[in-house]
Amino acid sequence: MSKPVNEQNGFALSPEGAARVDKLIAQYPTKASALMPCIWVIMDEHGFVSEDGITYLTGKLDVTRARVHEVLSFYTMFRTEPQAEYTLQVCHNISCHIMGARPIIAHLEKRLGVRLGETTPDGKFAIEGVECLGACGLGPCLQLGKHLYEHLTPARIDELLESLRKGVVPRADTDRELQGKGEAS
């Protein structure tokens, strides 16, 4: 009854991504239950889910647009707009606050010239405040991509930014040196 605005023009997943989606649909008990992991496939590839991406999901999973939009708007990690190259998500919950999250945020704001919640004009950096990241005794901390940077100090922030400005993501604290396989990052 409802007609989506765009047809599936312009949205495409890599062959690997498309294969992942099909595998997930086969693995999960119902098509609808594969919604979250399929959204992650799109997020991993594009960094956000566009209207065309929503159309793709409604087609693959037999769910309504309203449902997909509900799920996208409910979770903080799902995005419907293109993101900055590096989004630095700093925990501002209680333990990190006690250990100095606010000065860390102020330092980031000073260094990047933008406020919390904003993106640098060149689209390279964004600073966000987030809730507890599960690194409370290791704080203050921030999330970048799949990993956390912990025990933050202004100096560590400067090191991180300097490396990112060169296009190199420095090794994160959660990216431990491991023996053997089983630690893909």
Binding site: M1, S2, K3, P4, V5, N6, E51, I54, T64, R65, A66, R67, V68, H69, E70, S73, F74
Partner: protein, 510 residues
């Protein structure tokens, strides 16, 4: 069955009854305060208003999600419950905009009603701090949304998921940023969208058609039946000072439950259409009713009509009188292939007329354009067409051309154009009558607004025509017609005392 005590009163209800329903019964029909509960939708349990005290349970519990148990002792008006209702109601109000002066829902608003019962407190939150959301957003052809007024009861979302299965609506974001809406680029455009306006307890979803038209406490109500199709959804006509403002579904578990379709909802508009017939017309000239008998007689109808054509838009009583008027002459039910459309999965029938079954009940046969044209051609004398627009069919129009035609109708249409005498009749909302729906159910509709111009009740027009034809048995009241009709159909039910939900002859009588 289960016996339980509610507010000191012992009642017995079937096993599996919802405590919400049991409480309503025990309280003489007064339901617990609620927004999200709806008898035709799944239980959501989100408004938290229907809390009751059940002895033995540590906390208050919501009645809508509780099943009765033998021996339950329930309190719905204790201090603990009343305090909770007041507090929870306050939570509904803190971000609610004070739109009452401009909100269509005023007068039939769940928040207003609850507030008068459980509220009456001073506002504690400042206007500046209120959460702001979208106002006056058109979300479909018939529905407009005010997200600020929404109490997020989720009835509309559940309706679109569970009743129509179309799923256009969702609740986006979380916390107090949550808001009802359609996914970007989509509309609420299913054929039942206006039922969401009915079930929205506040002024969040309102009718675009009704917007700013009339304050609801000024409206009068009349019980009627939708003429849009053969389902015959029961409706309530809301009107004032001769104008109809809206239709609402009337609950009938045997026919339409609590719903009706948008197409049917809009049928009232034609009552006030520009091309309504308001005065009798003879020989192309508008005239008076006084002149009608003469005009009809001049056409040669004193010996009766050579052919009489009924229509499935007529009431059962009118069809009966028409048939009586015909005496021995042929009676046609009009075009069998006119007024047809697509049936849907819910209420909308493919037969877009309210009383085709009535024709069948009175053994009045329909035919296609060719058949009707043939009947017309064979007719030597005056033809009477009552209702519908058979001349819309080119074969019928050709046959009628030049014939002595009397037309009883409501619109200035093709058939009216060909008639020598045009008699303005009443539309369904302007008269009383009985329709027979697709299941053979006889249902009564009552008059709401006064008739347009000088239009007359059709049964009265037919009675007058009977007099013109020199008949002694022309009825004097609609009551008399119904009595005769009941006898003619061999019905046990007194048609002057129609059951509220109609009845199926030989079937269950309510």
């Amino acid at each position: 069955m289960a016996k339980l005590t509610i507010d000191g009163k012992e009642i017995e209800v079937p096993d599996g009854t919802s405590l919400f329903d049991a409480c309503r019964d025990a309280r003489g029909g007064e339901a617990l305060p609620h927004f999200c509960y709806h008898p035709d939708l799944s239980v959501a349990g989100v408004c938290r208003l229907c809390q009751v005290e059940v002895e033995g349970m540590p906390k208050l519990t919501i009645a809508c999600n509780t099943t009765v148990r033998e021996g339950m002792v329930v309190h719905t008006r204790s201090e603990k419950v009343t305090r909770a209702s007041t507090q929870i109601l306050e939570m509904h109000l803190i971000n609610h905009p004070v739109d009452c002066p401009i909100c269509d829902q005023a007068g039939e608003c769940g928040l207003q009603d609850q507030y008068m019962k459980y509220g009456l407190y001073d506002a504690e939150v400042e206007m500046d701090d209120k959460v702001n959301k979208g106002k006056a957003e058109v979300i479909g052809p018939y529905v407009i949304l005010d997200q600020e007024r929404c109490v997020l009861c989720s009835r509309c979302v559940r309706f679109c998921n569970e009743i129509t299965g179309t799923g256009e609506l969702g609740i986006f974001n979380r916390g107090d940023r949550a808001e009802i809406g359609t996914a970007p680029g989509t509309e609420l455009d299913n054929n039942y969208s206006m039922n969401t306006v009915d079930i929205c307890p506040v002024g969040a979803l309102t009718s675009r058609d009704f917007r700013f038209q009339k304050r609801v406490w000024m409206l009068k109500a009349a019980s009627s039946v939708c003429p849009g199709c053969a389902t015959g959804c029961n409706v309530r006509i809301d009107h004032e000072a001769g104008k109809i403002y809206r239709l609402k579904p009337r609950y009938n578990p045997e026919v339409n439950g609590r719903w009706m379709c948008d197409k049917g909802r809009m049928t009232y508009k034609t009552v006030h259409a520009d091309n309504r017939l308001g005065d009798p017309v003879a020989g192309g000239q508008p005239g008076t009713w006084a002149a009608v008998p003469g005009a009809v007689a001049d056409l040669g109808a004193r010996e009766g009509f050579a052919l009489v054509v009924a229509s499935p838009q007529q009431s059962l009583e009118e069809m009966y009188l028409l048939k009586a008027l015909a005496a021995g002459s042929p009676v046609s039910g009009g075009l069998s292939d006119a007024d047809r459309g697509e049936k849907d999965a819910l209420l909308l029938d493919g037969d877009r007329t309210p009383n085709r079954r009535g024709l069948a009940l009175l053994d009045i046969a329909q035919g296609d354009g060719t058949a009707l044209a043939a009947l017309i051609n064979r007719a030597t004398g005056t033809i009477l067409i009552h209702g519908g627009d058979p001349a819309a069919d080119p074969e019928v129009a050709a046959a009628l051309d030049g014939k002595a035609l009397v037309y009883i109708g409501t619109f200035d249409n093709a058939t009216a154009a060909l008639a020598r005498v045009v008699l303005p009749g009443a539309m369904w909302a302007e008269k009383a009558g009985i329709f027979v729906n697709r299941d053979g159910r006889l249902q009564e509709f009552k008059q709401s607004v006064a008739r347009h111009g000088n239009a007359r009740e059709d049964w009265r027009i037919l009675a007058e025509l009977m007099a013109v034809c020199g008949r002694e048995d022309a009825p004097g009241t609609l009551k008399a017609v119904r009595s005769e009709l009941a006898v003619a159909l061999g019905l046990e039910t007194d048609l002057n005392r129609m059951p509220e939900r109609g009845f199926v002859p030989g079937g269950d009588v309510r």
